[in-house]
Symmetry: C2
Subunit: 232 residues, 2 copies
């Protein structure tokens, strides 16, 4: 039996990255999970990433601890800021306070280093330009320019092994993403999305991230299997 081609999948344990992992497997790749801790206020996300990796029998999961909190500039890594609740949806040109500066650039750079060491040419990231139109690093042009740079930056690219950044959710909204995942058997009860969970890991149901998720399930007429501390 021919062994499957490996791909690196950025895995936060959230709804998007979990769906991306399922799509990478469907496309015939054997995934290497890559997760990051970076001064999130909660470890719930990492537990979810582990559960998801176990659920999909991912053979190798790498966890790296990044000094993003030292750089600051956003409410998810700063201990001072307040996570926004019940805000109006982010307007087209408005970048929300939950945007972590250069986050996807840094994440993909580490994926590139792992790719180089393991000689893997395929990297998956679960960004969507539909849901996160305010984030510059969730747009198709960002992914394309990162891919171009990645091929200039590495031995792999230099030696003609084209590095490919896959962003299979790019044109999907949350409902479409959930639909694609359910079709592939994703158990969304183990995924974690909330920016502001409580100590038991229960989602708040009110932050931007929870609201986007809940809206997606609502539009499909399906109940979100995640545990919320206040029934939405």
């Amino acid at each position: 039996m021919k062994s499957k081609k490996k791909a690196i999948v950025l895995l936060s344990g959230g709804l998007d990255s979990t769906t991306t992992l399922a799509l990478a497997i469907e496309r015939g790749f054997s995934p290497v999970g890559l997760s990051f801790t970076y001064g999130q206020r909660h470890s719930v996300e990492m537990e979810a990433a582990k559960k998801v990796a176990d659920f999909f029998k991912v053979e190798e999961q790498i966890v790296l601890d990044l000094p993003l909190a030292q750089i600051g500039g956003n409410v998810l890594t700063d201990s001072s800021g307040e996570v926004p609740h019940n805000q109006e949806e982010t307007a087209e040109d408005d970048i929300p306070p939950t945007y972590v500066p250069a986050r996807n650039t840094i994440f993909l750079s580490y994926a590139l280093a792992v790719a180089e060491v393991k000689e893997i040419t395929d990297i998956f990231i679960g960004v969507s330009s539909v849901d996160y139109s305010g984030y510059p690093d969730c747009r198709p042009r960002f992914i394309e320019s990162f891919e171009e740079m990645a091929n200039q930056a590495t031995k792999l690219g230099m030696h003609g092994n084209k590095i490919k950044i896959h962003a299979p959710l790019m044109q999907l909204d949350k409902a479409q993403t959930i639909k694609a995942g359910l079709k592939l058997g994703v158990d969304y009860s183990i995924t974690h999305t909330c920016y502001d969970p409580d100590e038991q890991g229960r989602a708040c149901g009110e932050c931007d991230s929870c609201r986007l998720r809940l809206k997606g399930f609502f539009r499909l007429g399906i109940e979100d299997p995640a545990v919320y501390r206040k029934k939405p």
Copy 2:
């Protein structure tokens, strides 16, 4: 008095980054130093970076600890590998074992995050395509494609503030770099270049990095003021 425009300067405390810092100051920028620890076997490099920052009265120096050793793939972060001594010079297409995968991509990504938070549009990096022809991420095409990506990745770039990656040493060999630095008053005795210093921080004089440096001083007919454990 108009306050000077800030620039982020990647500062390892080596000969190249120190010269780059001097050039950034000469070009009228007020530098923010950005240094990284990443499982180097020695802290000598960080001490040199600090000395250099003090020498140039750099107002802000940021030090970030990166998990590069966990990714592996090279002799500088792996505890197992041997640093090559007295090797022949690296051939055009041969990538040396001291190449750290995606290192400059990762370094510049953090610089980009700091740039975003501090709203700084200029980043300096001391790479040279002349001396390090074997490193893909020291070539002009890499710098150009990173700059292009950086402008897609960030609020700054999205809002029309063009981010510029300066690589002033790109076309200089080591002798030319040293000459440029001496003209600007750089004290090379405080810079550190060696891949394999001893416990007192003395350079080996035999690794690729020492040899390049010594050759540069030799060609200028000047004695290298660095301390070597074996007089070269």
